[in-house]
Symmetry: C2
């Protein structure tokens, strides 16, 4: 890991790629790398692009990458697939092709869920920190395919862009998935298709229903055509303007804080479980409860509650005045 960390610091993209594989695995090595590189983070801008499959997100990302490159921004792309591993092969195929198109200038990486959806958003947050530490100034995070974790992944970034098509169902689906709630910028791609103006009106109307948007102002709605390269400079400008607004309003700091707090809490959750799990595996009371469930003497939920009570009861009883630091009450377990 140390060698890889030094490689990343020297700008070796191979080292960056291998470190991202480590955070994807969510093990101790990945955590060690993030821990070591964390002080070097804090400079990158991250933009999440989300939306239904077929909205043309990859084409749009390609266009944005070209523009950021022309502006001399060191750019990286994370294509994150929160959907089933079943479709992974095909998507990776597209990705590899896309990666090749961009040549050396841009770091490209796809990430897929290896475990839970929660694990993937933790891995995405970690990958963003690694890319930030590696000196990438603009990081585009594209969610590939719709999945459980789409929303969680969009929320790992500073600015959330929702990409829709003039197809009227897109907005309804995005609202159902909760993605419309967190979008800072709405982009109607394929604006040359019929219905673009109507979709735009529908979005504006839907936004007006909301009394308070988390952006503190109404999000901008843009129509673009990635295929025809139309409206893309306006999109780049709108992304910058949104970022500046987030910065000036203090919202960026709030989001940053919420993200880090979430990251710490998620890790605490895992660590507590790792320890409890090891303990439960060799707990005779737990085994006894399982036997009782099998004999239908007790139901699974009452058995679980009994184990937790036993566990917490023991802890509370033993705590007394024992907990030293900070005067915390461990009985709250």
């Amino acid at each position: 890991v140390q060698v890889l960390i030094e490689g990343l610091r020297r700008g070796d993209t191979g080292a960056v790629a291998r470190l991202i594989t480590l955070v994807e695995e969510q093990g101790t090595e990945g955590r060690a790398a993030v821990a070591a590189l964390f002080p070097a983070t804090g400079k990158a801008v991250s933009v999440g692009l989300t939306g239904p499959p077929g909205a043309g997100k990859s084409t749009l990302v390609n266009c944005l990458v070209d523009r950021y490159r022309r502006r001399q921004s060191r750019t990286a792309v994370l294509a994150v697939d929160p959907s089933s591993p079943v479709t992974r092969g095909a998507l990776l195929g597209d990705r590899v092709r896309m990666s090749a198109d961009h040549g050396n200038g841009v770091f490209f990486r796809s990430m897929a869920s290896r475990g839970s959806a929660g694990g993937l958003s933790a891995a995405t947050s970690d990958a963003l920190l690694l890319l930030d530490a590696a000196g990438y100034e603009m990081i585009l995070v594209e969610t590939v395919g719709a999945g459980q974790g789409e929303l969680a992944i969009a929320e790992c970034t500073d600015v959330v862009v929702l990409v829709l098509t003039p197809h009227s169902g897109d907005l309804i689906q995005a609202m159902k998935a909760g993605v419309a709630e967190v979008a800072d910028l709405f982009v109607i791609n394929k604006a040359d298709l019929p219905g673009a103006a109507e979709t735009r009106r529908n979005i504006s109307q839907a936004l007006r229903w909301r009394s308070q948007h988390r952006l503190g102002r109404e999000p901008v709605v843009l129509t673009v055509s990635a295929e025809k390269e139309e409206g893309l400079d306006a999109l780049v400008t709108a992304i910058s303007a949104t970022y500046t607004h987030l910065q000036d309003s203090g919202l960026l700091e709030q989001r940053h804080r919420a993200r880090l707090e979430h990251q710490v809490t998620a890790r605490i959750r895992e660590a507590i479980w790792e320890r409890s799990h090891a303990w439960l595996a060799r707990d005779p009371f737990m085994q006894e409860q399982i036997e009782r469930v099998l004999r239908q003497e007790v139901d699974p939920y009452s058995a679980a509650e009994a184990v937790v009570q036993q566990y917490v009861g023991g802890v509370s009883a033993g705590m007394g005045g024992g907990a030293a630091e900070g005067g915390r009450e461990a009985s709250g377990l």
Copy 2:
């Protein structure tokens, strides 16, 4: 809840449906219902049907339902969608139509993820217990769409049927997703399409590579055509034969045990987290660590570790000889 439980016992399908909504929400009411009805469970046979989208699972389920009805088995269908809520609307549409087709004889219910994928498989296990207690003898669990949780949901059932088409990519994708590993029975649907014989050979070959199958024998591979109603009686026979094999070999009991153990453990995990979470929210040390992360004085992982250490350290120190029951060591937390 008590009224609904009595309703379920009387055979009121409306009560069953409302109780399933409660377990879908994974709250205290749903848990109370499962706890109350658990002693009445243990008679149903559950069959999971999984496979790629477009394999014709719903048509196949329709055909199976007809056959089980003719055999006077009280039958229920759970269509579980572990994929994104984005596509939920459309799928529910199909489901409602299908539900109507079957009239009164069959209980039909679709379930979608309202939270994590893990939550959905817990909800599915609970719904199976409710349907079992309600007296359904045959419960078909169909996973709708491919998703993170497909595998976990298939594993909630006694017999796992993997439905494929003659399309060569299906098997590869199922193997990638790990579903081929847990399948007890392979069904090649749409057997009238070209490639069925080849797919069958490929599956048999792939199965032979495995030295040990979890079934203790090689799984049966069938070709059917749900559309043309071909091979369906053979499928019903194969499902029964597989169930009998599982019963005779002791594997059914093993699986049953593993499922209940998993259910208890998952609930313990949630309960421990609910309590830790409440405690962390008002822990000044935790807040201090978050501030330090924001100032980049410490990385998120070291901060999490410090909080857990503090927590566990306090608990261990306080435990001493305090833990009364069973002589367990709480220092293992």
